[in-house]
Assembly symmetry: C2
Homo-oligomer: 297 residues x 2
């Protein structure tokens, strides 16, 4: 089996080539909008959500290249959420992945609109060609609905709202867990589930993948909190210690560093356990789980 | 035939009852998000896009109550675009329809997120129950794709970007027309087209409705520009003369009031002419066209 880092590089390239093809080009009108959309999409990033989607498709024996546009839709949603999160009215961040944030380059109005356009583009991708030429409409509709639900007021946006509202507040574990499960885990869960559905997984397989995705997404956010405490700013490409400075609710602040690390590990194990029935086909998903909790970036 | 104003009142009520049912309730978590979404959705409004969608469904002999969730999806998209347009970084408006704008009540962060949530909710409505229990998935996917395209970078957002970029600039008629056709006409066209598709219209009927919708949407924006010059602030529920003060590109500024009025009228006639083959079934659409160009609000 190809080493994980080579696999990640290869998948990342696959996703980035597809994004380049599937996003409007800067030869389209109005070019500055397309440029602003592309600026943040191509500002680096691990491409975790698309790679998880592709790996879930592989795990159920589906064809990876066919589902690439759905993987790109997930990355569009993730990128829009980052652009809006970074706005002065929200987290007010100047840098992300070592580059100036969208509004620092294009201004606030364009950053809001580029985010809106990326969110809308995700649903254009999920409902149109090439996916609609390849997959049954019932399946695509189901995937679009799950992703919309995961990204909306009962998912990512709900979590983001509570994250903003709880800044500087004393909150308990229940609220912190609501934030993590919605702000981050919901979309990662949707990515893995979409990969399973489009890959032709059985309902049992899709349910197992969904459980794995939820655990992994949650662990991912705990590790994100830990990296803000312990990470290396140069490596991360953004300032560390921002969470504490902004009075953000985080796992390490509430439970301490060691207990947070244990929580992330136990979620990883729970996620991997959900994949037992898959046998060797889910090996990449297991490796990706270990990667998520051990990552330094 | 019931007089138009009674018809409009009745349809508006139908749409508002459906919106109330189909938007997350304030008993859902987090309540402040649901409240912010509902605040702008229920802050008045003509419900033009949903009413046009329903009238297009009627014109092709479809069932109005079945398509209501799609009509609500259009209103969600329209409302999100208003919330984001009103933000300080965009048009910086304090009032809309006589009420404080979303960010004046809930703050900028919540206004951005409530807009994002409404946009996402539109695609949740278009891809899930009750529509998915009633209509073939292929049809819903087609409708979702057309609406996404009309709302995105090649449609409404593209127009909005140029509107923002051209503030205080000298522009020619071609750019002004790009802005109007994209910022406003694209979504109105999509509403009418969606009504025709879901109502079971033939490809010819849908194409005719699309042409009508485009003309009507364009005329609507010209009238909007005219009302900003000549309208009554109290009646409109917002300040007038804002376009000129903000250096916005408008029809009256470029062509004069009289030529603008003529352009709106000629677009209305072109739109109505596209409906010739429908006979009496399209009478409401014809009345709605006349209403759009003669409105004072």
């Amino acid at each position: 089996m190809e080493p994980l880092d080579a696999y990640l590089r290869r998948q990342r390239q696959l996703v980035e080539e597809a994004l380049d093809q599937l996003l409007p080009g800067t030869d389209c009108y109005p070019p500055v909008l397309m440029e602003a959309m592309r600026y943040s999409v191509f500002a680096g990033g691990k491409r975790l959500r698309p790679i998880l989607l592709l790996a879930a498709t592989e795990a159920v024996g589906g064809e990876v290249t066919a589902v690439l546009p759905a993987a790109c839709a997930l990355e569009c949603i993730h990128t829009y959420s980052m652009i809006h999160d970074d706005l002065p009215a929200m987290d007010d961040d100047d840098y992300r992945r070592g580059k100036p944030t969208n509004h620092k380059v294009y201004g606030e109005a364009m950053a809001i609109l580029a985010g809106d356009a990326l969110l809308t583009h995700a649903f254009e991708l999920l409902s149109g060609p090439p996916l609609s030429e390849r997959f049954p409409a019932t399946l695509l509709l189901q995937v679009a609905h799950r992703i919309a639900r995961a990204a909306g007021s009962f998912g990512m946006i709900g979590g983001q709202v509570m994250d903003v509202l709880c800044e500087g507040q004393q909150v308990d574990t229940a609220v912190l867990e609501y934030i993590h499960r919605h702000k981050t885990a919901a979309l990662i869960e949707a990515a893995v589930t979409a990969g399973g559905l489009l890959g032709g997984g059985t309902p049992q397989e899709v349910a197992a993948l969904q459980h794995y995705g939820h655990c992994l997404g949650w662990a991912f956010q705990i590790v994100d909190d830990l990296l803000d405490v312990e990470g290396d700013a140069a490596q991360l490409g953004k300032a560390v210690g921002r969470d504490a400075a902004q009075g953000k609710v985080t796992y390490p602040a509430l439970l301490g560093v060691e207990a947070s690390r244990q929580r992330a590990l136990s979620l990883m194990h729970e996620g991997v356990a959900a994949l037992a029935a898959f046998g060797p086909r889910a090996e990449r998903l297991r490796q990706l789980a270990a990667y998520v909790v051990s990552r330094q970036v």
